[in-house]
Symmetry: C2
Subunit: 249 residues, 2 copies
């Protein structure tokens, strides 16, 4: 085992006094962030990891259990442990909670309306932990379920992480997979704040509804595996035929 | 080990072909449901459980990990594994997602307005998996955050599980803890469907706002540990100064 790895981790003040398995968990996460193990790749077995990291197999198992619970890794029974990829249907749905009433979850299509570079407003800079007036790439899209516009969304991405996005010939519908494969930014978690609002004239035009109809406004901040704020997203969602589903427990 | 326990579990068609740890998980859950282990009680250690259930310690650990992840059990480092109680601040907040803007989560107070017994409507009977026209106990409450009414809620409980509630002299604010301690019904999960609606005249009177203001309508179905639908709840929430928070990941 290369001792420097852990020495290096331990010198980080935020990581002091963590239980051993937590340190192993952070270390494995770091290896994924550094793409030593890529999305979809199989990890060495517990025995090999324990021996390489000079900890017990129980500690490795505890760390891998925790990363599996966080969906950063996934286990295939009798095969091994893999780095999660944001391609599987499960992980695509996981972060998309708007569902047509009485239907099963379905992934919406996206119509990309514009890609522009702007100076971040105060709200966006704060949410993305950027310096005031930092540059952001702004995508506007409409999402489509059942051949109907259901969401008008504005997505703000830090220019410092996504500079090359401006030059991409094509931007796919499944952005989180795109961030993972093209930018090595894997979504770890999202935080949605939901409010009820009245449709503005612009919402009404975007969604083909009447001004003043009630909409769900979902404000999302997304963090990557290495804890960067990578996306701020403002979604204005119809809920006359759709609902935002939350399962707790 | 009393072999009948597992034989009994295995004779249940829904449990056939489950991995061993899943069977142990179901079995431990059943023991909690039957109050063999009560909320707050410490479980025997892994070694004792493995020996009593005649499975390996690894299998017991896997089952307990899964129940801990589901928050049915909780671990206290160096002490042991306990049956979760719905008293801790964490578990009380866990199912209450409305937060005042810019504030930290706080548990709202409740003003109980009425307790009545009714015949279930079709929607309520379906949500609670009851026979048509089954009896339900209906509570209406207003929730209070920062000395202000923020939610008007109507709660429907199956009469068959909650009959004695009509005779309770006092109904506390923290219902889930009350269900657990008085009715032996532990909340396992909730499923919220969220829509944006316009305040009706009644909402306006209940919440001290204007008719036509946008509100979040949260429709919740709650299941117990033994998978009974125990509560249907309709909440009309202000979101002018509050937001519904969802953290995914």
């Amino acid at each position: 085992m290369n001792k420097n790895r852990f020495d290096n981790k331990l010198s980080h003040p935020g990581l002091a006094f963590q239980p051993l398995y937590k340190q192993v968990e952070e270390h494995v996460t770091q290896l994924i962030v550094e793409q030593r193990w890529k999305p979809g790749e199989m990890l060495p077995n517990e025995f090999q990891l324990a021996s390489e990291l000079n900890v017990s197999q129980g500690t490795v198992r505890k760390a891998l259990n925790s990363l599996t619970a966080a969906k950063i890794l996934n286990r295939k029974q009798g095969i091994g442990t893999f780095v999660s990829e944001h391609t599987g249907h499960h992980s695509l749905y996981r972060f998309f909670p708007l569902i047509a009433d009485g239907k099963t979850p379905e992934l919406p299509k996206a119509e990309l309306l514009s890609v522009e570079t702007h100076v971040a407003t105060k709200q966006v800079a704060e949410a993305l932990e950027l310096a005031p007036k930092a540059k952001v790439i702004v995508l506007t899209r409409r999402r489509i379920l059942n051949d109907e516009f259901c969401i008008a969304e504005t997505i703000f991405l830090p220019h410092k992480y996504f500079a090359i996005l401006e030059k991409q010939p094509e931007i796919p519908h499944t952005l989180y997979h795109f961030y993972q494969t093209q930018f090595n930014l894997t979504v770890r978690d999202t935080r949605d704040s939901i409010k009820a609002v009245l449709a503005t004239k612009q919402d009404a035009e975007m969604l083909g509804i009447n001004e003043g109809e009630p909409l769900l406004e979902v404000t999302r901040v997304t963090h990557s595996l290495d804890n960067k704020a990578i996306e701020f997203r403002l979604s204005r969602c119809r809920s006359d035929k759709y609902h935002y589903l939350v399962e707790l427990g």
